[in-house]
Point group: C2
Chain length 421, copies 2
């Protein structure tokens, strides 16, 4: 592999997705943005759509906007998102935040299985998913040890066999982050789903770091439940509403604990007793935040235009390229690879550990026009969004990471942890 | 009272808030918009703010936006909203939807009072609030009759004495819509709060039809809990995030059942065990929808600039004016007043019943440039937003309502119920 700047330029010339970068607002071309796994860039079509939504729909249609596309947006956008996660159109909805959706589905799954109360997860899961699970178990009267957290031996991965050993006939739910937020490790979804089903448990996947970057086939794998956010690789905008997936076989059996206005069979009948929608819409609760919700749609259209298979193929090339650069140019400077070596086992970000990771992160941002993110205690995450990140950016970022260490740029920042990392 | 068009013009000339109408986007000046109690108009400052948020903050600051005002927005805007509901700055937060907040606070209130499980509400409450309450009781293992719904004798109001008779030593919570969504009746908040406290129960108020139109003094009344939406008289935009209020005396005692990322003591420490914030922030859960959240702030600034006392004073003048017009010009045509006659007992909308209300509603919208809303089975709601509605609009709307009946404009619409009313 040619690891020179010229080599990067050649890879960009050969990139069939290269033109998609021009579909995003990139006001500062110097900035190497490697945090699309936290907040994706603004698609130009989204900007156009939002301006129209504000200036024409809110201002002029006013309340009539609900009858002209707002009210069904959660379903309409859900049906598009279904294509990205291998679901049927009526198996996905946009609603609330990832945590609220996780709460709803987790409570529903436990209540549907009265004889079981154990939740199996692992130490790679996003901490706030654990908080939700802890809260649900307490709410339903189960002891804290009903949450089984399978440890990770290497800090990077957890093997299916380790999970299998924790799943038993008391297990109600196996709840995992499909792609780990820190290491980027990707669980084999179909294999673990089959494992869980063999012991009579349901599965609930957090796809936040998967969706838009790593293909999954939820329906074909007969995955039971899933949630995820839409502001990372989906480019839905800051805090855009999350999604939830429920396999159609479970629609009748599960009950939403947060019964609300939009999940009612006929919201405008104003009947005093709750009668849920017969389908997935029962999991809707309150009025959705329309501005944030509608922003997701043009971004999703852009992704579907590019095609997830091509996005994944480029992501694999880019993470392999970055790992090769790391091995040659960063490992000698104390950077450790904290993501899987096997490209098939990782998502679209690479984690690098370093003794001075926090200071390096700040120096990259403040002085070197590189924007990665930092995850405590020592982890730099380099998120690659194939729709807009170039090979040249990855090459340049690595040179800046060398500079940060060789010139000890990290020293002045190393005790400064900002509010948001 | 001079009920001619000239009289309306004179009232508008004398209106000290008249200039605020120019602070809103009003692209169609012919439209008489009387649905600000469902979706408030777009303030011009909000449009400017949103364009900057999209084009500069999302596009250019990207993830750094979280460190530059997004992360604390729920608290910052909450502190401003606190001024509108008579709360201390740290007693109000913006988060989620009204229903999700109602769920959180209702579960918290019941869990904090193990010996009590009855919820007292009334038949004027918004139906989806009842759905949430029904769901909470079921989730916590209480029977359906733990929800006591005090009936309304006249369809318009419920007297404190009727509520008092339903509150006993088993009552955990008195949960009411402060301003009724249909009749506009306003409960005496301090009186009912004192009633509940005398029997050891907590109070939870839905302020959706109150906030921004009717002053309340939550803290002074020692009201325990409240929720509400921000897209009606607050003009926060379609589906803007809701708010929640918890009296400071309860911050330590109550627990959020939906434990999440933002309610954690240190979200960026990524610790596996949930440790809640010691204050109200524990009731935050997931990442907020930033576009929809930030839209609330300029609208709130505008309201604070106008002053809620002046807004209420104008609202009282306008609802009295509309009732006078009704009595002279609409009652003879079969319109019935379905709101309280006493101005002090009502919020900022007037409900009029009519045998042909649905057809009249459609004729007003489709043919007569008047936009009220319809609430089944026979109720036209005329929402008055004092920041932008004029007396001339009210006068003209009444003439159109006469036309709709006198010319039988309703006939062609009377069997057509649209999706969203």
């Amino acid at each position: 592999m040619d690891l020179t700047a010229a080599g990067a330029a050649a890879l960009d010339r050969a990139d069939e997705l290269a033109a998609f970068r021009q579909r995003f607002a990139i006001p500062d071309a110097r900035l190497i943005y490697l945090d699309g796994n936290s907040l994706g860039r603004l698609p130009l079509d989204t900007r156009t759509r939002l301006h129209a939504l504000i200036d024409e729909e809110w201002a002029n249609q006013l309340i009539r906007g609900w009858g002209n596309g707002w009210f069904e947006a959660a379903e309409r956008i859900g049906a598009k998102l279904a294509q990205v996660v291998g679901a049927l159109p009526h198996e996905v909805l946009l609603a609330d935040s990832t945590s609220v959706n996780l709460f709803k589905l987790c409570v529903a799954a436990l209540r549907a299985q009265p004889g079981r109360h154990i939740i199996v997860t692992d130490a790679l899961n996003f901490p706030s998913d654990l908080y939700v699970l802890q809260g649900v178990l307490q709410l339903l009267g189960h002891p804290p040890d009903a949450l089984r957290i399978v440890p990770t031996a290497d800090g990077i991965s957890v093997a299916p066999a380790a999970l299998a050993a924790a799943i038993d006939e008391q297990t109600a739910l196996v709840m995992l982050s499909h792609t780990a937020f820190k290491s980027g490790f990707v669980h084999p979804l179909a294999e673990i789903t089959a494992l869980a089903h063999a012991r009579g448990a349901l599965t609930l996947w957090d796809l936040s770091h998967t969706v838009g970057a790593v293909p999954v086939e939820l329906h074909a794998a007969h995955a039971d439940l899933a949630v995820g956010c839409s502001y990372k690789y989906l480019n839905g905008g800051p805090g855009a509403p999350a999604f939830l997936y429920v396999h159609e076989d479970l629609h009748a059996r599960l009950q939403n604990p947060i019964q609300g206005w939009i999940g009612q069979l006929d919201p405008f009948a104003f009947e005093p007793d709750y009668v849920p929608q017969p389908d997935l819409r029962k999991f809707l609760t309150g009025t959705p935040p329309v501005l944030s919700l509608m922003a997701i749609e043009p971004a999703l259209d852009l992704l579907l235009e590019a095609g997830l298979a091509r996005v994944r193929a480029k992501s694999l090339r880019q993470t392999e390229y970055l790992v090769a650069l790391w091995e040659q140019q960063l490992e000698p400077l104390g950077y450790r690879l904290q993501s899987p070596r096997n490209a098939q086992q990782r998502g679209s970000h690479i984690s690098l550990g370093h003794l001075h990771a926090l200071g390096i992160d700040r120096a990259l941002i403040e002085e070197l026009h590189v924007l990665p993110d930092f995850r405590a205690p020592d982890n730099l995450r380099l998120g690659i969004a194939p729709l807009y990140n170039t090979f040249a950016e990855l090459h340049a970022a690595v040179q800046h990471m060398r500079t940060a260490v060789l010139e000890q740029r990290y020293v002045k920042y190393q005790d400064q942890r900002p509010l948001v990392t």
